[in-house]
Symmetry: C2
Subunit: 353 residues, 2 copies
């Protein structure tokens, strides 16, 4: 980073105003990390106005002079934006990638793609990208990160936008997944269902995306508020078989606990669950209702009632935020919540009588 | 390109051996395009050994000296590979992209992604990429190109590998789509089907991919060889509704022409067709059989019999060919055909009696 090589005389150093003050001194004075000082002084995204002010005051107090040579290392325009996604071959990731690519290329920048699936690849990504300064900005599409990894994001030292989730103080665009789940489960309750199950999902390491945690929260809240007993949750690692496997587990429950309606994490999980229902000779929605989230056109083919989270729109906004930051323009809002839409189709009906 | 700025004295110029010979002279002497001379002299892919020899002989005859400054413009390593795909959010494209990205990044290069869907975006791509020299190589994933666009590929002036298709003299990796279709239709004929339909597909502009043309050819050949009458073909623009729409058209045919089995261009088209059959109260395979191509795991969920074309493997080979070319190593073969596999599942059975 931009630390000067000379170490200050000792712990008393930061107090002196004329000496060799470095970023570590400013960080200690402001009570924040060195990475935060670096970001605040370079004016890149991910630092709250309050923190930025504190850092600038500390720098002024100490007469700290930004090392311009080091600073320009990260400031040199490459004309490229990195998009980091968990799995390129999932509907959500490829839809986000397609829309971010179109927006960013429309702004005359190129898109570098990083597929980062699971702990090993994440660790490699964090080891490599920051040291190479290959891009002017990073768009991070809903990766499940560990706490230590979140902190390392600061070290990447370029503009960062989070799409489909929220992370630290970075600019973000997302949907309200708790409200989405409440709407979906509310729709089922409105139709008269009392035994409602949920098929959740995780990545290959078993880590849950924030969206899954929030959808689970909304589901659980609604059940409790309507006195519908304990949640009936199953979790399957994300993939084409997740829905069928989850549905099989739910349909294998004893009759008095078997759900008459299932809230699925995503449309593709619902389509896979639909297949399992049909395979067992059940009818959708006469025997079991299905509702899901995404707006994946595959769900439309199978007539799955769904909450459209307007993924391409989220991605477009994330791309535009990135272009604004790169143009040095302030963002009107550092966070954007995209509206969602309940699309009623043929997979939901009152429970069998 | 690498043409020197001085124009030779006149048409007779090329004959003189000591003067200012440029690439245009070499091209005229060898009877090839300037772009071909440029590629041949820089040793990048896409020129047949025969043509390369002719160019080198012409250059020798004329004592042409490569302009090294201009040549290094394109030779300077950027550490990046461009991957060009028609639609990022289709199964084939995103699977190819995921596997190429993993391979190329494993070779310590970054991947720039270009989504090029339809004529306008293709035209923009051809206008921009060649002039900017942003990459060391391009992997082209089965774009439908017009003849004039194919010629412009040469002007990109870097290594080029074609994945999932074959184009001019460029190194390629693909499957034998005619043989795939013959195997699929042969499987249906072996089960006793006599009325076999096919759902074909095109891009948004109505252009057919080479793979579609070849699968259609294999289907038509088999019908003719087995005396099964005229082909029953429907074409739908690629997308999630293509299969359902195509299936509806086939099922709406008069009973004596309605197929008892349908060969679908891809697994996702078959899944969409399956949905249309179920929606009409038909059973798969009891009332109608479905067979498709890809190896898309979604097809597995719906138990669709399929020819696996090992897309991830094709992409991996394309990525490795690219790394070889960038390392200056000769390719063992300039073209690689990947084997395919018939995977029998539950969507094919003898016709209803």
């Amino acid at each position: 980073m931009s630390r000067t090589s000379r170490i200050p005389g000792g712990p008393g150093g930061p107090g002196s105003t004329g000496g060799e003050i470095n970023m570590e001194d400013v960080a200690r004075h402001a009570g924040v990390s060195i990475a935060t000082v670096s970001r605040a002084l370079r004016g890149v995204s991910g630092v709250s106005p309050h923190t930025r002010r504190r850092v600038l005051e500390a720098a002024t107090d100490l007469s700290y002079v930004v090392n311009n040579a080091a600073s320009s290392l990260s400031g040199g325009a490459t004309g490229r934006v990195a998009v980091v996604v968990p799995k390129l071959d999932s509907w959500f990731s490829s839809t986000m990638m397609a829309s971010i690519e179109a927006t960013v290329r429309g702004g005359d920048r190129d898109v570098l793609v990083y597929q980062v699936d699971g702990r090993d690849q994440r660790s490699r990504f964090f080891r490599e990208l920051p040291t190479r300064r290959k891009v002017d900005a990073v768009v991070l599409v809903s990766l499940p990160l560990e706490a230590e990894e979140e902190e390392r994001l600061d070290l990447i030292g370029v503009h960062m936008v989070i799409a489909g989730a929220r992370l630290r103080d970075y600019p973000f665009v997302e949907v309200d997944d708790v409200a989405i789940a409440r709407t979906a489960v509310g729709h089922l309750i409105g139709l008269g269902h009392r035994r409602i199950g949920m098929i959740r999902t995780s990545d290959t390491d078993g880590a849950h995306w924030t969206s899954d945690l929030h959808r689970c929260q909304g589901y659980t809240e609604m059940l409790a508020e309507h006195g519908l007993g304990e949640p009936t949750l199953v979790t399957e690692a994300y993939g084409v078989h997740a829905g069928a496997r989850g549905m099989a587990r739910l349909l294998d429950l004893p009759a008095d606990r078997r759900p008459t309606a299932v809230f699925c994490y995503s449309d593709d999980i619902a389509v896979s669950a639909y297949r399992e229902a049909i395979r067992r000779g059940l009818r959708v929605p006469e025997d079991v209702s299905l509702i899901a989230v995404d707006g994946n056109p595959l769900g439309e083919v199978f007539d799955i009632t769904s909450i459209d989270q307007h993924a391409a729109e989220q991605a477009r906004i994330a791309g535009e935020m990135t272009l604004h930051l790169l143009a040095g323009e302030p963002l009107e809002e550092t966070g954007r919540m995209v509206e969602f839409t309940l699309v009623e189709r043929g997979s939901t009906a009152p429970p069998p009588s």
